[in-house]
Amino acid sequence: MSDARTEILARVRAARPASAPPVPRDYRRDVPGIDVVEVLVDRLVDYRAGVHRATAASLADVLGGLLASSSTVVVPPGLPAPWIPGPVLRDSSDAPISVAALDEPGVTVVTGAAVAIAVTGTLILDAGPDQGRRVLSLVPDHHVCVVWTDQIAGGVPAALSRLPDPTRPLTLVSGPSATSDIELNRVEGVHGPRRLDVVIATR
């Protein structure tokens, strides 16, 4: 008897259709005629995320307001230092922050994003320097994500094509953690951060 791999591939070769018709591509590459910032705000509010606006000049102030009640602020290795003037716990590959420390009450993590999708209200994190390891935006109870207006794409195809490297660990976030398993009632905050604040900033 041959090994499983050989046998499965032989079965698939014997059973597959001779050919398939060409794939039509008539769907839209992008969503024309929408204000991507307004649509993203609308979708995020619909998911019950906090939405805040800032400019490059006011970003530190806006973040300061959001972080006022946090006992610890965690940031990825490449988050620009001027964004948060106060003390931060900075993650690094030499000294990664432990999961236990991230799980402490009152921890807020601040990250950037790679791309955002307006029509679905989605933030895409690709582990870039201002986003860091996946665990950072997962374990703390409060996630603050900064999105620049020029990072917002209209629809899904336009957003995915903007990602520089799809083999990086990718996390797509659309609102705070939620479940609909109990009579299909949406309940926020099951396992991921219970609170998601998005700061939409103009460069």
């Binding site: 008539d26 953690s177 939620a178 009579e183 396992h191």
Partner: protein
């Protein structure tokens, strides 16, 4: 061709199982409320997408293209994933898949694993196989946890605890969840919080995670998991070792194809514009997430399904479960009646093909052929067409064959047909006051078990037309 095994083989015929479930009024009420809520949400968000039909056509065609190129794409996926640091394994059936995963878990010396909700691991019966060698598998999706605590089986592909209402869930938590507060209410946020507390400790201590995958990308070797609660992210990120069980039909040729499926799947399944969390990972990323990743590619009846020219379209399925929520049969009997982890319309065509005609031979009849499932399907699986095809392929009782042979003789000739109608009318004249008959005597009673018999009309259309 070798068929699939595991939790896709119904232990009793659908009509028997359905009759039992139909007795449960609470189940029907829970199901009706849930399926109607979710289908209304789906219609609303699908209505927002101007190019929905174009996306459906592309989604169907991409999947058909994958099926035609499956051997090459599987080899390409294996190569890309291996290059990225994953270890790829293959399994012919459920038992072999369970053996592979069990061996991999044992190599880590872990006594427990945390699981992301996954149809593939349900299909192969992984939890039972792990339990047999003393490894505890904890389901971390809230609905799967409810079902696991209740020692029940899932009844829906997407919302496995759809058959329970909040007070039933509260009772399950109170009696089965260790350390739960005695005063736990049936308020959904309170129930979700109880599950969060219960599972948090497991996430932070588990060294092995087990998942499935919604998609496996051939050109990059990437796996994709689509979820809501963040339990998936916990299992995919915190453990040292990650084992993913993936059906061979989950392949997509390139990363770019996700632009179609990430639009089709969330709107079709939960009726959301996008699910809260999607995770994608490619092999191993140093310093981020599991440092050992395995992918177990399973056949388990998929190649047998691929052989059938009409039936193979079932392999396009992306497990969104939209077909369940619109099905009048599912809405009344629920998922357990189908006897497979794949219930509802898609299950009625998938399970019998995966297991071969011997098992599940009543499932192709578990439908009214109303066509709502085809309209809802984001990858345009013509479920009614496959149901009819499977009914035609299945064995027919001798009496039915004889009856249809005579019927066909009568209907081939207009005069014979008109004479038969007149005879039927005369024969049924004494019964006219009843409108319709509930039961016929044996052997026709087999047919009227689940149907009423309409009486012939007083006049045929042709007779009425001639008189005018």
């Amino acid at each position: 061709m070798s068929h699939g095994t595991g939790n896709i083989v119904a232990l009793r015929p659908f009509p028997d199982a359905a009759r039992l479930e139909l007795d449960d009024a609470q189940l029907r009420a829970n199901l009706r409320r849930a399926t109607h809520t979710i289908r209304d949400k789906r219609l609303r968000v699908v209505g927002e997408v101007d190019d929905w039909e174009d996306l459906r056509r592309s989604g169907a065609a991409i999947k058909d293209d994958v099926l035609a190129r499956l051997p090459e794409l599987l080899e390409q996926f294996e190569e890309s994933a291996t290059r990225a640091g994953a270890v790829v394994h293959w399994a012919r059936d459920a038992a072999e898949a369970c053996d592979v995963v069990t061996r991999l878990v044992r190599e880590t010396a872990a006594r427990e694993v945390v699981k992301v909700k996954s149809m593939a691991t349900q299909e192969i019966g992984l939890n039972e196989a792990l339990a047999a060698v003393g490894i505890e598998a904890t389901e971390t999706d809230l609905a799967e946890l409810i079902v696991q605590l209740a020692e029940d089986t899932p009844s829906h592909i997407l919302v496995p605890a759809i058959h329970y209402n909040r007070s039933q869930i509260r009772d399950i938590f109170r009696s089965r969840m260790p350390g739960v507060a005695a005063g736990l209410t049936d308020d959904p946020p309170a129930l979700a919080e109880a599950a969060r507390t219960h599972l948090r400790a497991k996430f932070l201590s588990a060294t092995v995670g087990v998942s499935g995958a919604n998609f496996a990308i051939a050109d990059t070797g990437t796996l994709v998991v689509v979820e809501s609660e963040g339990n998936g992210r916990m299992c995919l990120t915190l453990p040292q070792t990650l084992i993913s069980v993936v059906g061979i039909e989950k392949i997509l040729p390139t990363f770019a194809e996700l632009e179609v499926f990430l639009q089709l799947l969330p709107r079709s399944s939960t009726g959301e514009r996008m699910n809260p969390y999607t995770s994608m990972w490619t092999g191993v990323t140093p310093g981020d997430g599991p440092q050992t990743t395995h992918v177990v590619l399973i056949d388990n009846g998929r190649t047998a399904t691929l052989e059938d020219e009409v039936g193979r379209q079932a392999l396009r399925c992306i497990r969104c479960s939209a077909c369940l929520n619109v099905c009048p049969v599912y809405e009344r009997v629920g998922g357990h009646a189908y006897g497979s982890v794949y219930p509802g319309p898609i299950g009625a065509i998938l399970s019998p093909q995966m297991t071969g005609a011997g098992a599940n031979k009543t499932l192709p009849y578990a439908s009214t052929l109303c066509g709502a499932c085809f309209d809802a399907c984001p990858v345009r699986i013509d479920i009614p067409q496959v149901l009819v095809h499977l009914r035609q392929k299945g064995p027919k009782p001798a009496a039915e064959r004889a009856a249809f042979r005579s019927l066909s003789w009568i209907m081939r000739d207009r005069r014979r047909y008109a004479a038969a109608l007149r005879a039927a009318r005369r024969g049924s004249a004494p019964l006219r006051g009843f409108g319709r008959l509930r039961r016929l005597p044996w052997p026709a009673s087999a047919w009227t078990d689940s149907r009423d018999v309409p009486l012939p009309p007083k006049q045929t259309f042709r007779e009425w037309w001639t008189k005018r």
